[in-house]
């Protein structure tokens, strides 16, 4: 039995750590690529959301490398994500691929169910070993996030453009050759040092952009055309409150342990969104409010075409834009999105934000509407 799992940005790093620690044999699908997207688009229903399509491509490519068990996380609605596993299984079955889909469902707040689930794959039941692996995974997750945030800060300030990109990219590749949490953490330390060694302009006061929206498209650089690195190289400091690792920690680990994550965004979202409706709408709305109040210059919302909860966010964001005087750019991505037009819109937005900052437009004054 060879396990595989879907790609989403940096997810593969903590997941790799976890599987290494548990001693499970696995295949990491090739990094998200055009072919994966093509395969997914071909075999998934046309109106399925983009992440489902790319993941389907991941599985087919992993199958070619010998994987026969797909490990995914579950959910019980209201968004489609909770039904991905069923879709994938049925599609792969009709295509004749012999792959089992295994859902690590952590909808209930009980750690024992989670452990039993893991036992089904590892074949042994050693709660101590599993808990230790989970703890290490959480640490790796956190450090991966911190490293990413560091790169967000360095990019706009570096003297030689592209330095952070080069180091970060090399980290993402070489981590594949590391085994276990310890080696991965060492590589993270090494990369952090390299990033900190980059010569930067300490006096620079860059524009700050918050990235909100659907988790997959905001976190996956292949899907969003490396938006964070591009914004950084255009001189913008980026912040993305929803991270994959944060999601793993909050939704999988803390939930399994019955703990609560940081929920300040929920309060902040209240005036605009009366209840949890699924996906990351609460995060999108709440974080937009928090970032606007925190002095950010602009917000970029990213969503896949047809994303149900983010369509709700999209229609609410103009109210926040108006109330808190912060420009919001919405980017909708699907398999047909052309890179050129997409980049033009991002550049124009960055220009707008820079102009606004220079002109010192402050809250209360008339602002350009951005749509």
């Amino acid at each position: 039995m060879k396990v595989t799992f879907p790609h989403m940005g940096n997810t593969y790093i903590p997941v790799k750590a976890l599987l290494d620690e548990l001693g499970i044999e696995y295949v990491i699908p090739p990094f998200n690529n055009k072919k994966a997207l093509e395969l997914g688009t071909k075999y998934a229903p046309e109106m399925a959301c983009l992440p489902l399509k790319i993941n389907l491509g991941n599985f087919i490519q992993a199958h070619e490398l010998g994987a026969d068990l797909i490990l995914i996380s579950g959910g019980c609605g209201p968004c489609r994500f909770g039904y991905y596993g069923e879709m994938h299984r049925e599609i792969l079955k009709d295509l004749g691929f012999n792959m089992e889909v295994f859902t690590l469902d952590i909808s209930k707040k009980d750690i024992s169910g989670f452990l039993r689930n893991i036992k089904r794959i590892t074949g042994e039941f050693k709660p101590y070993k599993i808990l230790k692996a989970i703890k290490k995974t959480a640490e790796v997750s956190k450090q991966v996030d911190e490293l990413e945030r560091l790169s967000f800060k360095i990019r706009p300030r570096e003297i030689v453009k592209g330095s952070a990109d080069r180091i970060y990219k090399s980290f993402q590749n070489s981590v594949l050759n590391k085994k276990g949490a310890k080696e991965i953490k060492e590589l993270i330390d090494f990369t952090r040092k390299n990033l900190l060694d980059i010569e930067t302009d300490k006096s620079l006061d860059p524009i700050k952009i918050g990235i909100v929206g659907e988790i997959y498209t905001t976190n996956d650089p292949f899907t969003n055309f490396r938006i964070e690195s591009r914004l950084g190289n255009e001189g913008a400091e980026v912040m993305r409150p929803v991270t994959v690792s944060g999601w793993i920690i909050d939704h999988m680990i803390k939930k399994a342990l019955g703990l609560k994550g940081d929920e300040s965004y929920k309060e902040a979202a209240k005036p605009y969104l009366g209840a949890m409706i699924g996906g990351h709408t609460q995060e999108t709305i709440g974080n937009t409010v928090l970032l606007a109040k925190d002095g950010y210059d602009g917000i970029i919302q990213i969503l896949p075409l047809g994303c149900m909860p983010e369509i709700v966010s999209e229609s609410i964001l103009p109210s926040i834009e108006r109330d808190l005087n912060i420009p919001v750019l919405t980017l909708i991505i699907d398999e047909m999105t052309g890179e050129a037009g997409y980049l033009t819109r991002i550049e124009a937005f960055v220009d707008l934000l820079k102009r606004r900052k220079e002109e010192g437009l402050i809250a209360g004054k008339r602002m350009l509407s951005w749509n």
Binding site: M47, L305, I316
Partner: protein
């Protein structure tokens, strides 16, 4: 003068109007329902709503615009869930927020959350909250709700017997008779707001009926049957419509009197994208019943629909005639 409560003729209206209409009327309110969907309502909705939304949500915006200046309250409950363990749809859950953000000059919105997902949550409580907008007497609200429920159950029983909202209620007995005649049976699955809004579906129902087709919707299949089939699914479907759709599809393929299955989807509906796909797989794997999607969006043309319907029913008729020498997989 009595209080005017506006109910948009859209989305949940089509599933639940006897309930809420009776409820508010029993409380002495005047219920104003927006007119049938029209080009103007559609255009207004399309103009004001975000492009990416599905047609039903756009239409809902249009209906709100047509109502908002004529009523004291707009009834747009936050429909998180109407059944245990299930949701409806993220967009329906966020409807009051979308409306508030997109449409200016609204009257007060009755946006009480209806969330029956967790066991122990009570619909009566929601009803009491909703009723309190127009009436302060809790006992009266309770009575009104019980009466409304009676009406609603009566209506659901009618639907199970073959009544389609929009049918002349006095003719309903005729329709029951039709159901047992020699007509061709075609099963139709789709959100009630797509099946019963004849503007949106371009008179799908009356066209088929006019062509000698007897229509059996998934709403005509009893809860017990639906659940007995839905329970066999690999993973519980957590959308109310999804469970009904997949449960009834599995039931339809096992019945031998269904000659064709039509799945009506809203373009841009995330739930239809998944459930429709799974339904098609169920039909194709387990039967040779002809299956067709009809996708509705603001650009759907009637001519195209007519052609496809004709081809579909012709094929079914041809098959029925040749059934004896027809192999199961063609």
């Amino acid at each position: 003068m009595s209080i005017k409560v506006g109910i948009p003729r859209s989305l949940f209206y089509y599933q639940m109007y006897p309930l809420w209409q009776t409820f508010f009327e029993e409380l002495g309110a005047e219920v104003v329902v927006s007119e049938n969907t029209s080009k103007k309502i559609l255009d207004d909705g399309v103009r004001i709503c975000v492009d990416e939304a599905c047609l039903p949500v756009k239409l809902f915006h249009g209906h709100v615009i047509s109502l908002k200046d004529r009523v004291d309250y707009l009834f747009i409950p936050r429909m998180t869930s109407i059944s245990k363990g299930e949701y409806i749809c993220p967009k329906v859950g966020g409807l009051p927020d979308m409306i508030r953000s997109s449409i200016k000059g609204l009257p007060e919105i009755i946006d009480v959350e209806i969330n029956l997902r967790k066991s122990g949550s009570s619909e009566l409580e929601s009803a009491l909250d909703i009723g309190s907008y127009v009436c302060k007497d809790g006992r009266r609200i309770k009575r009104a709700y019980i009466k409304a429920l009676d009406k609603f159950n009566e209506y659901k029983a009618d639907v199970e017997r073959g009544f389609i909202p929009g049918d002349d209620i006095n003719r309903k007995r005729n329709i029951y008779v039709v159901k047992n005649s020699e007509l061709l049976n075609i099963a139709i699955i789709g959100h009630p707001y797509n099946l019963y809004d004849s503007y949106v579906n371009m008179n799908l129902i009356s066209k088929l009926r006019g062509d000698g087709i007897n229509i059996i919707t998934h709403e005509m299949v009893s809860e017990e049957i639906i659940n007995s089939y839905a329970d066999k699914l690999n993973k519980k479907v957590f959308w109310n419509f999804g469970r009904k759709a997949l449960g009834s599809v599995r039931h339809f393929v096992e019945r031998n009197d269904i000659k064709g299955i039509i799945f009506v989807v809203s373009f841009g509906c995330g739930i239809d994208a998944f459930i429709g796909d799974l339904a098609e797989r169920i039909v194709r794997r387990n039967s040779s019943i002809p299956f067709m999607f009809i996708s509705l969006d603001e650009h759907s043309g009637e001519a195209g629909l007519d052609t496809r319907l004709e081809a579909f029913t012709d094929m079914i008729r041809w098959r029925s005639k040749n059934e004896s020498n027809f192999s199961a997989h063609g």
